[in-house]
Amino acid sequence: MNSSVIHEQVVDVQLFALARELTSVARVSLEVPVEGRPVTIADVQHALMARFPRLASLGAKLLFAVGTQYADENTVVQPGEPVACFPPVSGG
């Protein structure tokens, strides 16, 4: 029997606008697998899409922030850092 321990980092993600409506939640805690390197936005996005397949309609258009700064797929998410996920902005 494989007894390897699976590590996870809990990442809190806030969702806005169409991303919130497609998921029906404004906030979700995701358990993101830790694979011997820091968790990145790409990992968070993967976990988010697995949890909410309906987000696929926004696909590559989805934007991410760590704290209050835009992030790209390589941005590291430290334990406890909040993530935001949203569609292209349309203020003004």
Partner: protein, 135 residues
């Protein structure tokens, strides 16, 4: 200091806030709720923000404008919630010693706000449908 508000934007207050004897030029940009977009009729817009990041991003835009041009005072404000036709959704006021800098900074700030600040609008069309606007 940029602001978000649930209340109507007072354009005169924006002008008053940037007027100073250090400035020889004052510009004011207002974004307002337009009735027609490609022949579709809008009844109202609903605005939502990721507020802490919106303020942080507006702050960064103000700082960038101050690095690029010699300015006196800046005011940036965005309305949130339900807006009906003609209401002011966004206001940018800039004062500067000279008009070239005031115009250029005002244009830069509203362009960057629309490109970067995490705020979203939802159309309420005259046929009763609703639709998030995203580029």
């Amino acid at each position: 200091m940029p602001r978000l508000t649930e209340h109507p934007i007072d354009s005169q207050q924006l002008l008053n806030a940037v007027q100073t004897t250090q400035a020889g030029a004052v510009i004011l940009f207002l974004g307002t709720v337009r009735e027609f977009t490609n022949q579709r009729q809008t009844l109202a817009l609903d605005y939502e923000a990721f507020a802490p990041m919106a303020i942080a991003e507006m702050d960064r835009i103000e700082a960038e404008a101050r690095e690029k041009w010699i300015l006196a005072k800046i005011e940036t404000i965005h309305r949130l919630g339900h807006l009906t036709l003609g209401e002011i959704s966004v206001g940018v006021a800039v004062s500067a010693p000279h008009r070239d800098a005031a115009f250029a900074a005002g244009q830069y700030m509203i362009d960057e706000l629309k490109r970067r600040v995490p705020i979203w609008k939802k159309e309420n069309w005259s046929d009763g449908s609703q639709e998030w606007v995203h580029p």
